[in-house]
């Protein structure tokens, strides 16, 4: 059975290749349309399901591709292949401009902007003399391969089939790569990407532009298969259709696009016939049914139908890759033991009238663990954010490896050798453990979109994944490397976060409550791991509530209360400090 499922895509391809010969022309046309819609939806999967941005204007990008190529063909007599280049480039540039303005802001701005763009595109094209107004463009040349014109419906079908296979293969390849891993982390917000050295804004922009480009390919296909264009199939209704297809099918998986496009097209078709029969020819009640399906899907199965189907037919995906654990060849030279990594002097951070961090000085050396203790609201997290570059200090100085830190972003800090974990584990739930760890190594890779798309990245991928595998071994999660991060227990999630932080090959590791939620034996294992890392020369700063854990592990401790440092020194001295006893146990303990 499992073997059968592995060959399912191949089987589907064979069926798809054979069907035009067996089916009537009308159905061949419908399937061709489904394939074109699927390509547009693949763009939306990248953008919506993967990178967490919603577009209500995707049909406009389909239309942009279609009209650019249609114009080049009918008015300038260019071949369809030149049209393809023109379509892709125009869509890329337009999406780049719109995205540059909007992807920095909350998602609904982007969604509404795409909506406005979609409506504007429809009116612009409909009123443009050059593009034939609402009558459209006719007589678009067919795609020609080696002097042979693809004119008939069946030939159009094969063209669509080849295109969809290529686009699908490209998306798969891209999503499994270094670039893809960052894109996939964006859905839960920009924090993960930024912490590990990737510019979340640029990656969001990339997802938006890629979605537009893929949609424009769908448009190109539409123009040269249909060979007639009018603005109507690129209006707002079409955009909403594409989005709903994607969400109903399952926006986070590529196959969801195919499932959604097929289901929606077929249901709409059948339903339309039925409702027209019952309510007369002008009814559009099928849209009400469609809207109801959509709302129920959002309420009951937000991930769409593909994951449900996948569970049924393939309960557990077997790991297909065999990754050799390896140490990264070009690691950062570790600073010698005892070198000062971070120095803070008289650090202060205010929020309005509140002084969250008040006159704090400390330093951390390599091969040392500094524990930071303090009751809730003591300013620990603010201090953490100051060190990691998430906040800049109001006053005081902070230096990292001898260089001053001024307004360094989290991204810069990652490149300079700082790595961190989050208080609330921030993992990409639907990625494997191995891939989650590999996100940590993002800034150690070089291959970008281009190399990742064309598989020029194999050596690098082997290194990054091997290195991630090695780190999973170290934290004791190697046997789960191919499981999804969402299935882990809280304790294991924390270990995975540490592995990911280590993947960035840091000099300084910031751990925010790593022992919270861990069981006793897990705490012991974590303490052993941290001690080992210390021996290797890592500097570690640890915020923790578990006193036993910190006192046993830390070389030095700093205790904070109300933003101030109330004790600083070796654990035994701190334990004996009267100020600390007062803060924790009340006066005169």
């Amino acid at each position: 059975m499992t073997r059968l499922i592995r060959f399912a895509p191949l089987l589907a391809l064979v069926v798809a290749a054979a069907s035009p010969v067996l089916l009537p022309v009308y159905q061949v046309e419908v399937i061709t349309y489904v394939m074109i819609a699927t390509i547009a939806c693949l763009g939306l999967v990248l953008m919506t399901g993967i990178a967490g941005m919603v577009s209500f204007g995707q049909a406009a990008f389909v239309g942009l591709g279609a009209y650019v190529s249609g114009y080049l063909s009918t008015r300038l007599g260019c071949s369809a292949w030149i049209g393809l280049v023109g379509a892709v480039m125009t869509a890329g540039v337009v999406a780049g401009l719109i995205g540059a303005v909007t992807v920095r802001m909350s998602g609904h701005y982007l969604a509404l902007t795409t909506l406005c763009f979609g409506i504007s595109f429809y009116f612009l094209v409909g009123n443009s003399e050059m593009l034939g107004r609402f009558n459209g463009l006719t007589g678009i040349a067919p795609v020609s391969v080696g002097g042979f014109d693809l004119r008939s419906e069946r030939q159009g079908y094969y063209l669509a089939l080849v295109t969809i296979v290529l686009v699908m293969a490209w998306c798969r390849q891209l999503l499994a790569s270094r670039t893809g891993r960052v894109l996939r982390s964006l859905r839960s917000g920009p924090a993960i990407a930024e912490t590990f050295g990737a510019n979340a804004y640029l990656y969001r922009l990339m997802a938006f532009v890629l979605a537009a480009v893929i949609s424009s390919i769908a448009g190109w296909l539409y123009a040269h298969v249909q060979r007639f264009l009018s603005p109507t199939p690129f209006g707002l209704t079409a955009s909403i259709d594409y989005l709903f297809m994607t969400v109903i099918g399952g926006s986070s998986q590529l196959w969801g696009a195919l499932l959604g496009a097929s289901l929606v097209t077929i249901i709409k078709h059948e339903l339309q016939d039925l409702l027209k029969f019952v309510f007369g020819p002008t009814t559009r009640l099928e849209l009400l049914v469609f809207a109801a399906i959509m709302i129920v899907v959002l309420q009951k199965a937000r991930k769409g139908l593909w994951p449900l189907l996948e569970q049924r037919i393939a309960p557990k995906a077997a790991p297909t890759l065999d990754i050799e654990p390896m140490i990264l060849p070009h690691r950062r030279p570790k600073p010698e033991h005892g070198l000062t990594v971070v120095t803070a002097s008289h650090l202060e951070r205010r929020f309005g009238g509140l002084v969250a961090v008040d006159d704090i000085s400390f330093h951390v050396k390599s091969g040392e663990i500094l524990g930071i203790l303090g009751p809730n609201g003591a300013g620990k997290t603010t201090l953490f954010n100051l060190i990691s570059g998430a906040l800049s200090p109001s006053q005081g100085e902070l230096s990292f490896l001898g260089a001053p830190l001024l307004r360094a972003s989290a991204r810069d800090m990652c490149r300079r050798g700082l790595s961190r974990t989050f208080q609330h584990a921030a993992l990409v739930q639907d990625m494997t453990l191995l891939e989650n760890v590999a996100i940590g190594a993002t800034h150690l890779g070089r291959c970008g979109l281009f190399a990742n798309s064309l598989r020029l990245d194999r050596t690098e991928e082997r290194q990054l994944l091997g290195w991630s595998r090695h780190l999973l071994d170290r934290v004791g999660l190697a046997d789960k490397a191919f499981e999804l991060a969402g299935n882990l227990s809280l304790g294991h999630q924390r270990l995975l976060e540490i592995a990911r932080a280590l993947a960035a090959d840091p000099v300084l590791l910031l751990l925010d409550e790593p022992a919270a939620g861990l069981r006793m034996n897990e705490k012991v294992a974590l303490a052993e791991l941290l001690a080992e890392l210390r021996c290797e020369g890592l500097a570690i700063v640890l915020v923790e509530h578990d006193m036993d854990f910190v006192f046993r592990l830390a070389d030095r401790l700093m205790v904070m209360n109300f933003g101030r440092r109330i004790a600083y020194g070796r654990p035994d001295d701190v334990r004996a400090d009267s100020g600390v006893q007062e803060a924790y146990l009340g006066a005169a303990a």
Binding site: G49, M105, L115, C116, S188, R284, L288, A291, Q299, R302
Partner: protein, 346 residues
């Protein structure tokens, strides 16, 4: 263009702008309390005019059927929930809220609005029908999605719009309507010819926006809503029900939509699907205010109305294009001034 034309256009712009102000205010209100970008707002506006027009023609409006179906679904959902929780009080309240109230309004619409009834009564019943739809839409579509991200809610809102406009075509038909307006002769004011309609629209818009302001500023219920808007969990902890907050705010937005519909009905021909563009223009105004600041949103909405009036004079075919492309520079400005990013899909 001479000054006279410019003044007329400006007046036109301010009048439609005043309606967009109402819509923008309601949109900001709903968004800040529930994180829903309420796209169907515009549909409710168009439906109000269509309802009033049916009363004027002496027919029962199609809104009645929408209300009956929506109330039945909402009642079923709520009662099923009450039965599952074995909560008798909850069941009684549901029966009142989603059973009795819609029934009374539907009965009034069917039997108490003869063709000869005064315009004010027809308007009141139309407004009641539409306002009642607000909380019903909340119950059916958004209440089960309360914990979802703004993007999911936005998709649901678009689905709701799609459903409403499809049912709108079914019950109202494809013909457009123009309702009766404030009567009276135009008069001169500071050298401008002013119609009573324009004055009525501006005055009503200002009244409603002021009333909303007073409600939020000074009433306990309004302040509770603001608390729910500010911090959902915090509000729940101090005993403010976010479900009740959502319902109230959807009732308010239903009322605002109904008033907008009554105001805009006489000035332009409305079809079952005209609402979407109206709502979208309200949005553009709301976006200028960052979906959060009421006075800015109102200013933005006035700007939209004015831009639209001038655009329709110069390049009427591109009227809507110009209005929607106006937001791109606004967004650019906001994107430069915004630092903190934002939410994902989860």
């Amino acid at each position: 263009m001479n000054t006279d034309v410019a003044l007329i256009l400006l007046q036109d712009g301010l009048v439609s702008g005043a309606v967009y102000v109402l819509l923008a205010t309601a949109l900001v209100l709903v968004f800040s309390v529930t994180r829903v970008v309420f796209v169907p707002q515009g549909d409710l506006v168009a439906f109000t005019a269509l309802t009033l027009s049916a009363f004027e023609a002496g027919q029962p409006p199609g809104t009645v059927w929408i209300l009956i179906v929506a109330a039945a679904i909402a009642l079923a959902l709520d009662v099923i929930e009450a039965v599952r929780l074995r909560d008798r009080l909850h069941a009684t309240r549901s029966l009142l809220r989603f059973g009795l109230v819609p029934t009374v309004i539907v009965m009034a619409a069917l039997f108490l609005v003869p063709k000869t009834a005064p315009l004010a009564w027809k308007m009141a019943v139309s407004a009641a029908l539409i306002a009642c739809l607000g909380p019903l839409i909340y119950r059916i579509v958004f209440q089960p999605l309360a914990a979802a991200s703004p993007l999911v809610l936005l998709i649901a809102a678009v689905a709701a719009h799609l459903g409403l406009s499809s049912i709108g075509l079914h019950v109202f038909g494809a013909e457009g309507v123009r309702t009766e307006g404030f009567s009276g002769a135009p008069f001169a004011l500071f050298g401008m010819i002013v119609t009573p309609q324009a004055v009525g629209v501006l005055a009503s818009s200002v009244t409603v926006v002021t009333a909303l302001y007073v409600f939020f500023r000074f009433s306990l219920r309004g302040r509770a809503l603001l608390a729910a808007a500010h911090n959902r969990r915090g509000a729940e902890i101090v005993g403010i029900s976010t479900v009740a907050a959502g319902r109230t705010v959807f009732l308010l937005t239903g009322i605002a939509a109904a008033i907008s519909g009554l105001l805009i009905g006489p000035t332009t021909t409305l079809y079952y699907d005209s609402g979407f563009l109206l709502g979208l223009k309200g949005f553009v105004g709301a976006i200028v205010g960052g979906m959060a600041v009421y006075p800015l949103a109102a200013a933005g909405a006035l700007l939209v109305g004015t831009v639209e009036a001038f655009a329709s004079f110069w390049a009427s075919a591109y009227r809507d294009v110009i209005v929607f492309l106006v937001i791109i520079p606004v967004l650019f400005w906001r994107s430069v001034s915004t630092v903190a990013p934002e939410d994902g899909l989860e």
